[in-house]
Amino acid sequence: MALKDRIQETIDSEDVVLFMKGTPEQVLCGNSARALDALRSVGAPVTAVDVLPDPAIRQELSALSNWPTIPQVFVRGELVGGADIVQELAETGELREKLDGALGEGWQERGREERTVELAEGSGPAAGLRLVP
């Protein structure tokens, strides 16, 4: 599957996707940290994608989303915004409402852990979408 299609599939199939610089364990950009903190503040079930291993991820993503910067947050396939918007929505309570609307009431009780998806070419033997434990 082409990189562009893997990105699109991740956006479409995951509840909440955060494209970031670094990983939740090792965030390498202040704006990515702000977006992650905002998502964590409401307990969002984050699926993180590190864009740094391959510059093509960022290029293809920005072409798909019409959004030039990283981080980018998607909820059920819809671009919610970058760090500034997600932080603002978290502070006003709208982020929680958006998640309620998109994921259905009670999503908090499902208790899903944060996880990371690698999209870079040749990042693993499967060379495709791979879940990292």
Partner: protein, 76 residues
């Protein structure tokens, strides 16, 4: 550099009721911009920020802007 960014934003939002550009670190590449304009009224935050990104496309693409924080309001 803040002057150039202000000019670009002023061109895109000639009716802005508030328009500010701050060099956050003094290094000339980390900026905070604030735009309030009737042109933003009725748009989602994503659409509002896209218009700001469009206005600043050139300095974003040529690497002048390393990091950009955006605050927008749709009002006249």
């Amino acid at each position: 550099m803040t002057v150039r960014l202000e000019e670009l934003l002023r061109q895109a939002f000639p009716d802005a009721t508030e328009l500010a550009v701050e060099d956050r670190t003094g290094g000339g590449d980390h900026f905070q911009v604030v735009v309030a304009s009737p042109r933003l009224a009725g748009l989602s935050l994503v659409e509002q920020h896209r218009l700001v990104y469009d206005a600043l496309a050139e300095p974003l693409e040529d690497g002048t802007i390393h990091e950009l924080r955006i605050k927008t309001r749709g009002e006249g």
